[in-house]
């Protein structure tokens, strides 16, 4: 990176941070900090945490997201909160991935999915305006997006036809994958790739298999109260109407642990402190994580994080 490119990227990052902070200040959302080194890691089989040695004590884990700590703050009575923090995920390195990346994560009490997703899209819109990139917001359900781009409703397909569809789209050994992974592949390959890039899309109501930490829909058990934001051809944010049922959450974690053992992935213990906090009572809330580096890519109009980050992962 030349000196002028360096200064350009540093200044743009500073503007993005300042704009985000003023966005939340205007809405009276409180900025907080939570530990980056936690005593537990996420069980999600698709996320591998970095393990950090701590002399002869049990190891610590670099947080793959501040979600659990922020929810514990909410349980303890915190108001609407946001955080701009580094998050860490092993092996996620590529043009649009860095194993160490910056998240803007926030939680809004009493918000529903429509409110939190609208707010997220508005923040993205404001951040893009820093360089006069003005994109409209469009809301579409996961189902309708599939219908439009694929001409069929993915959620209604049998496992067999999902496998056939994925194979046709070039997935090798599709028959070995569960529904959720097939959804991931087909949606990315056939839907996200075809979404117009000059629109901020709110895609909402994901399949129940992909609920993660979201509540299932009250009106349709096949759907989860989860949304994602897409712009520029890729994912920018992921949010939930947060699951508050401790037993159901524990059950989902238990499932993760099971899948980990089946796939030979590192064993991860369930974060019982988090479960205990849920049991104590998480207030009704919606939350979202926005990848700041991804937004930076669009605003800077470059293709790869290498052109953006002063210290790229491969060249530390």
């Amino acid at each position: 990176m030349s000196q002028s490119e360096l200064i350009k990227t540093l200044k743009l990052r500073a503007e993005l941070l300042a704009t985000a902070r003023s966005f939340f200040a205007q809405r009276s959302v409180l900025e907080v900090e939570t530990p980056v080194l936690g005593a537990s890691a996420v069980t999600d089989p698709n996320i591998q945490s970095f393990v950090v040695a701590d002399e002869n004590k049990p190891p610590r884990y670099l947080q793959s997201s501040p979600e659990f700590f922020m929810k514990r703050l909410l349980v303890d009575g915190a108001p609407d909160i946001y955080q701009i923090t580094k998050a860490f995920r092993q092996a996620e390195a590529g043009a649009r991935h860095n194993p160490e990346f910056t998240l803007i994560e926030w939680y809004r009490r009493q918000f529903d999915l429509a409110q939190i997703s609208q707010e997220t899209a508005e923040l993205v819109q404001q951040l893009l305006l820093i360089r006069e990139i003005s994109l409209p917001i469009q809301r579409i359900s996961y189902r309708a997006a599939c219908q439009q781009m694929l001409g069929l409703d993915l959620i209604e397909q049998s496992l067999q036809s999902l496998i056939q569809l994925a194979t046709k789209q070039g997935l090798v050994a599709a028959e070995k994958l569960p529904r959720a992974a097939l959804y991931d592949f087909i949606f990315d390959q056939a839907v996200v790739a075809r979404l117009p890039q000059d629109v901020i899309y709110i895609v909402e109501y994901y399949p129940a298999e992909q609920a993660s930490l979201a509540q299932l829909s009250q009106t349709d058990a096949q759907l989860a109260e989860r949304f994602e934001i897409f712009a520029g051809g890729f994912e920018l944010a992921n949010g939930f109407l947060e699951l508050r049922d401790a037993d159901e959450q524990r059950q989902r974690f238990q499932q993760d642990v099971q899948i980990r053992s089946e796939q030979g992935l590192p064993t991860v213990a369930i974060d019982e402190t988090f479960i205990a906090a849920l049991r104590q009572g998480l207030p009704a809330c919606a939350g979202v994580a926005l990848g700041l580096d991804r937004v930076h890519l669009i605003v800077a109009q470059v293709d790869s994080l290498d052109q953006l980050l002063p210290f790229s992962w491969s060249a530390l």
Binding site: E92, G94, V172, A173, G291
Partner: protein, 190 residues
């Protein structure tokens, strides 16, 4: 058989898929924030040369293809096969018509080619980027016509046809870019 995990994927890696050997041209990690990671690759079939898009679940393993690219000297053709020699081991390999393909147009005895061996047998031949070949037949050039842009067909000792400037004569050797099949210049006097 040896295998590779997707996290070892990089361009140039040789893998097996559906019974055919492939080389990875491009490898991209695709990973939703919540969800399954995939390696999206462009791979070239080493038998057909066709490039296809495929996706592997990250963490999966694939068999390695027993494919090696070796510099070899082209020796001669016997009407059926083309014969090459590994200059380090002096081992000789016979490549058939399928393996040689269009490369036959540019093969000149003693030139060094890249021979792709699959399970020990030649799978494809890559001629040098530039070769010098003799024109065996072309229309006579016109005197003084060295500056105009006219071109004419010329037939080379290998049977290839190349379009050459009008001033180039039968019996001369010319330099050709084998990647485009285009005339570059007259060969240097040797």
């Amino acid at each position: 058989m040896a295998g590779y995990n997707t996290n070892e994927f990089r361009s140039g890696l040789k893998i097996m898929l559906d019974g055919d050997p492939y080389t990875i041209v491009e490898n991209i990690l695709v990973k939703p924030g919540k969800g399954q990671a995939f390696n999206r690759v462009k791979i070239r079939n080493l038998k057909t040369g066709r490039v296809v898009d495929k996706t592997f679940k990250s963490g999966d393993s694939v068999d390695a293809a027993d494919v090696m690219e070796v510099d070899m000297q082209y020796l001669y053709a016997d009407g059926e096969d083309w014969h090459f020699m590994d200059q380090n081991t002096f081992e000789q390999h016979a490549a058939n018509k399928t393996a040689v393909g269009d490369a036959a147009l540019w093969l000149k005895e003693q030139d060094i080619c890249v021979v792709t061996l699959y399970n020990g047998a030649p799978l494809s031949i890559q001629p040098p980027n530039f070769v010098e070949l003799k024109i065996v037949e072309t229309d006579p050039g016109l005197k003084g016509d060295t500056a105009t842009g006219g071109i004419k067909p010329a037939y080379l000792e290998t049977g290839a046809m190349v379009r050459v400037p009008l001033f180039v004569d039968q019996g001369e050797s010319i330099r050709i870019d084998t990647r485009s099949g285009e005339y570059v210049s007259r060969a240097k006097e040797s």
